[in-house]
């Protein structure tokens, strides 16, 4: 189980938990709070190819629609059915039960450490 400190982050407010060649991906609680109550999540199907920083899904709140950017090149190997059925899990537990998808990646791009991400959100 990856601890909060070991997570990597993107500038688009996503977190990644790396285990071998699979990354579990979600959005941060900072992003979830900015979005407000999440009411609908659109995730790519298992087997979809993802391209780094290309939109691969949507996270919709009562007031706005947030794009989900693929944080890595790879293939979707799992999606979180629980969050599709209960989108509010993202607001309740963005780093845990609110995870979105798992991607088998070919290589990791440059990602932010927790410290770097914290700086980003302090400035935000």
């Amino acid at each position: 189980m990856t601890s909060r400190e070991e997570l990597l982050y993107t500038r688009e407010h996503e977190w990644l938990a790396i285990e071998g060649d699979v990354a579990t991906v979600g959005i941060t609680s900072y992003a979830a709070e900015k979005l407000g109550d999440v009411v609908f999540v659109d995730l790519p199907k298992v087997g979809t190819t993802t391209t780094y920083m290309k939109i691969c899904g949507e996270i919709e709140s009562t007031k706005s629609v947030g794009e989900l950017y693929a944080p890595v090149d790879g293939e979707v190997v799992a999606t979180n059915d629980a969050v599709v059925g209960k989108p509010e899990l993202i607001n309740q537990d963005a780093f845990g039960a609110g995870w979105l998808l798992k991607i088998r990646f070919t290589q990791l791009p440059e990602l932010l450490s927790q410290e770097q991400y914290a700086k980003l959100t302090d400035e935000g």
Partner: protein, 369 residues
């Protein structure tokens, strides 16, 4: 960089202390939410919510010609409003375009209060002042000295009753009463913009914080929470109420907006000739209610089509959201009159994918009696 300072209400510090998220609402720094849009919306439907709407405009009209003046200035017949009663009305240009929608309250035989939208304050004042030229009336813009709080929900009246001796139970919906709240003079209007029962409390700026705090304290055990503008928008959408700037504008006539019922063509008023012509012809587009399936809401400005593949737009959404109370997408939209009949299938372009909706009657939600 925009250096223009946003205006704030007397309750601003309270919203900051409550960790509200803010938004620029027509030049005012207003709370968009305190905790969660859905929780605030649910509170208004199930218990009670408290809104700060102090940015709104208030005009007092008095004098011997008050009745005749307002009959001339507005599309309705204000002189027919019973004393201490209220009516929703419109002020239109001579060409028939809507300057604002507003509520007229009759305080006494020759004394009225108009509450108008904050964003239209200057326009409404200017139109009223111009139209008052030949009438013996006094027109006062009291907006800067008054705060306005709205407590709405099934428990709202009971909570307010703890702070006033006014006979709230005797006051019909759409009436007004002058009384004291916590020993301060206040107008209590049984009106609102949520589809629930409740009151709007008009009080001098200097008493707003005390009354806000007292309402929240008294109401807390009953489930009262402060509610922001995000929930206010989904509540009024469910109640089928138009918003100036979304459904209403200078380019809309009352007839395309479904507000023909508030226009009284048999009396003389500014705009009567134009509206008489409009009333005689079918509007090109009409405001309708739409309801959909699933969880993906068609939102403001999304285009509407007659089929899944057609490229010819037949209309546009003005306000749309996933209804928190009903659980499915709802929207108000202007559509070609030929597509405005109840039951008509309409396809909304939701960010590239077509979602099926049907024309339904408004309101989407009606409170239990």
């Amino acid at each position: 960089m925009n250096e223009q300072a946003l205006k704030t209400t007397p309750l601003f510090d309270r919203h900051v202390a409550a960790n509200a998220a803010f938004t620029d609402f027509g030049g005012w720094n207003m709370p968009v939410r305190y905790t969660s849009d859905l929780a605030e919306h649910a509170a208004v439907r199930n218990t009670a919510g408290l809104f700060d709407i102090s940015h709104m405009a208030e005009f007092f009209i008095s004098g011997i010609d008050s009745r005749a003046f307002l009959d001339y200035a507005l599309v309705g017949v204000a002189s027919e409003i019973g004393t201490l009663r209220a009516k929703y009305s419109l002020i239109v240009e001579a060409s028939g375009g809507i300057i604002d929608d507003l509520i007229v309250y009759r305080l006494e035989q020759d004394s009225f209060l108009i509450i108008a939208n904050a964003g239209n304050r200057a326009a409404v004042l200017s139109a009223l002042a111009e139209r008052a030229a030949n009438f013996e009336v006094t027109l006062e813009d009291a907006s800067d000295r008054l705060a306005l709080l709205a407590i709405q929900g099934p428990r709202a009246v009971g909570i307010l009753a703890m702070l006033t001796d006014a006979p709230l139970g005797d006051l019909k919906y759409y009436s007004i009463f002058e009384s004291m709240v916590l020993s301060h003079h206040a107008y209590l209007a049984r009106t609102g913009y949520t589809g629930e029962d409740g009151f709007e409390i008009l009080v001098a700026n200097e008493h707003a914080v005390e009354i806000w705090d007292a309402l929240l304290k008294a109401g807390e055990p009953l489930g009262l929470i402060s509610a922001g503008y995000a929930s206010r928008d989904t509540l009024r959408l469910e109640a089928g109420m138009p918003l100036y700037g979304s459904e209403l504008s200078r380019e809309t006539s009352p007839y395309s907006a479904g507000l023909g019922r508030v226009v009284r063509l048999e009396h003389d008023f500014v705009g009567v000739e134009s509206l008489t012509s409009y009333a005689a012809t079918e509007p090109k587009r009409k405001l309708v209610g739409l309801s959909g399936e699933g969880r993906r809401a068609a939102r403001a400005h999304y285009e509407l089509f007659a089929s899944e593949t057609s490229q010819d737009s037949i209309g546009e959404i003005t306000t749309g959201a996933l209804s928190p109370t009903l659980g499915y997408p709802i929207a108000m939209a202007y559509v070609d009159s030929s597509a405005a009949e109840l039951g008509t299938q309409i396809w909304a372009d939701v960010r590239g994918s077509r979602q099926l909706m049907h024309v339904v009657s408004l309101p989407f939600y009606k409170r239990a009696k």
